[in-house]
Amino acid sequence: MSLKTLKPGYSGEVKDRLENFNGNQLVYVGWDHQLLFCAPFTLAVSPDIPFGQLRDQVMASVFSPHPEWTQINWDSAGWLLDGKAFVPQLDVSLQAQGIDHKSLLRFQTPELAGFMSAAV
């Protein structure tokens, strides 16, 4: 079904197109089974930054208040990019490894159970 409108040919303005973010793109990042942070984050970053910078600077700026952030073993952590298994390359830009505007990145750290083993 599509939108029923008074006049034919209606189309809506796409509010969140890449061009509207002043050279940045959006990346959403969530830490699976970790609920100290109530929701995933929206990050605005340049598509040209390498993954390592996203992880160790941008993500660290929001996730590091969690006491377990520094204990994450990135070698064993799992990643999902838009729902599919993903192996990030630290030196490669986001754009070059398929992390595009409004992509969702999720990471899993099964060995960390959180505060009181309750995923906090």
Binding site: L26, H33, L35, C38, A39, T42, S61, R106, A119
Partner: protein
């Protein structure tokens, strides 16, 4: 000699149905241009049963009397320093949420019913909508007057309508009504009169009004009583519109069902805010959100949908998911607001130990297992002098605009993620319900004004979050926001009560 006074029946006929006229030289379709595009078929408007059974002259007389009493009580509340009689200063924060989140919806309802009150071809429906439009305007006015006394003594009440249009969490109620008002007139009525006022309104009104009664807030209780007779009429309109549409033509059934599915889902997402108000913001609790949901939706709504089955209408889609969510949403929502409490125009706090025990008792299957540990963690951090505030902006649902804070119901430590790609652009949602609403009408929701994205596009001032809060949202940073502990609200309360 003719009687001086018309009898009720004649008066009713003359002042409602008889206000219509035949279109002899103009095209009736052009007079009511909104009536057909939604695909709804009306074969006979005269079959519309007037739900209000009220004429304008009696309306004014009756409402004026009610209002006189209401304002007398407001005056008494002010003269007797009613703000010092509330149970606890934390209670005022529920009112802040109400004034910024709900009262502007009354105004939106006023505008929406004024529009539908012009656009329906049937005079009975037009008059019902016009009366409701006036009711809703009275509601926003009387609520503002009820709250004005609190505005003199507590922070966070001052810029409610400005905030409603801009503040991140208020985009949840605002976008709900914008969605309904930008729909056609029949969808608007199914959305607001039926799905919201008939099916869900008790879950909004009862918590706030009984909450007021339990917490010593005479002004709000009195408002609630004065609005009650209006609400009864609004609910009748909701039921009438459904029955009328379903009886007019069988082709209307699938359209109406789709609207019920959509608006039931949007409504329950909106009520997430009420759930946390009930479980966390009322110092004296009325009942738990879960209990309210069971009484007002599962029992009452269950009977309603059994009744509508004869028209081929089934219970709303995803009702089973919602049934499970009643165990979780209030806890998830208060954690969201607590952890973003530096960006809210009301205060937040860690529940007291007594309250934590009350929550364990009311939610034996979920609270201790999933939610108490967060509060223990928050207590620990607060004790170390590091009251927890999340840094960074959350990801929002492109439909309901709530941060993606809802978890999978069969896996409650995992956040739920849904997405779709439309015209090469990816969109994210909190749930299947929100996903389906987008997919049905993508051209509408690609336009969502998502507060987080707007900030990141530079449309809300800045550059820092505090600049946005202070200049764009007009919050008094340091007074309106942050924890209840140490707030100016708390300090004033203590000085009124002579507590050091």
């Amino acid at each position: 000699m003719a009687a001086k006074k018309l009898n009720t029946k004649d008066k009713y006929r003359l002042l409602t149905r008889d206000l219509d006229w035949e279109f002899s030289y103009e095209d009736r379709k052009q007079a009511f241009p909104f009536e057909e595009f939604e695909g709804i078929k009306i074969t006979d408007w005269s079959k519309w049963e007037d739900p209000f059974r009220l004429t304008m002259d009696t309306y004014w007389k009756y409402q004026a009397e009610k209002e006189k009493k209401l304002y007398a009580i407001f005056d008494a509340v002010a003269q007797n320093n009613g703000h010092t009689n509330i149970s606890d200063p934390r209670y005022a924060n529920a009112l802040k949420l109400f004034l910024t989140g709900v009262s502007p919806l009354e105004y939106q309802a006023h505008q929406g019913f004024a529009h539908t009150g012009r656009q329906f071809g049937g005079v009975g429906a037009r008059i019902a909508c016009q009366m409701q439009s006036i009711d809703e305007l009275r509601h926003v006015q009387t609520q503002v007057h009820a709250m004005s006394h609190y505005n003199k003594f507590f922070d966070g009440f001052q810029d409610w309508s400005h905030m409603h249009d801009r503040v991140w969490y208020l985009s949840v109620p605002k976008s709900f009504f914008d969605d309904a008002r930008s729909a056609g007139p029949f969808e608007f009525l199914v959305a607001i009169s039926f799905s919201f006022e008939y099916v869900l309104t008790n879950l909004l009104f009862v918590p706030f009004m009984s909450g007021a009664a339990y917490n010593g807030d005479m002004a709000t209780v009195t408002f609630g009583f004065s609005a009650q007779s209006d609400e009864a009429r609004h609910m009748t309109l909701g039921l009438e519109v459904i029955k009328f549409l379903l009886e007019q033509h069988e082709d209307n059934v699938p359209i109406v069902q789709e609207w019920i599915d959509k608006w039931f889902w949007r409504g329950t997402r909106l009520l997430t805010l009420v759930s946390m108000m009930m479980d966390y913001m009322l110092p004296n609790k009325v009942m738990s959100w879960k209990e309210a949901w069971e009484v007002y939706f599962e029992e009452a709504g269950g009977a309603l949908f059994k009744d509508l089955a004869r028209y081929g209408i089934r219970a709303p889609k995803y009702a089973e998911t919602i049934e499970k969510e009643k165990e979780h949403v209030s806890h998830q929502a208060w954690w969201l607001f607590y952890s973003y409490g530096d960006a809210t125009a009301f205060h937040t706090w860690i529940p007291s130990d007594e309250e934590l025990d009350w929550l364990s008792e009311k939610y034996p299957d979920t609270f201790d297992k999933y939610y108490r540990p967060r509060w223990e963690m928050a207590k620990k951090m607060e004790a170390q002098g590091k009251r927890f505030y999340t840094k960074g902006l959350p990801q929002l649902c492109n439909c309901c605009q709530i941060p993606l804070m809802f978890t999978e119901m069969d896996n409650p430590t995992q956040l739920a993620y849904r997405d779709t790609v439309y015209k090469d652009e990816r969109y994210h949602f909190c749930s299947d319900g929100c996903h389906d609403i987008f997919v049905a009408e993508p051209e509408k929701y690609v336009q969502s004004w998502l507060p987080v994205h707007q900030i990141l596009q530079g449309n809300c001032g800045g550059p820092g979050l505090e600049d946005v809060l202070r200049d764009y949202y007009r919050m008094n940073v340091g007074a309106d926001n942050l924890d209840m502990k140490g707030s100016p609200d708390e300090q004033r309360w203590n000085s009124w009560k002579g507590v050091a």
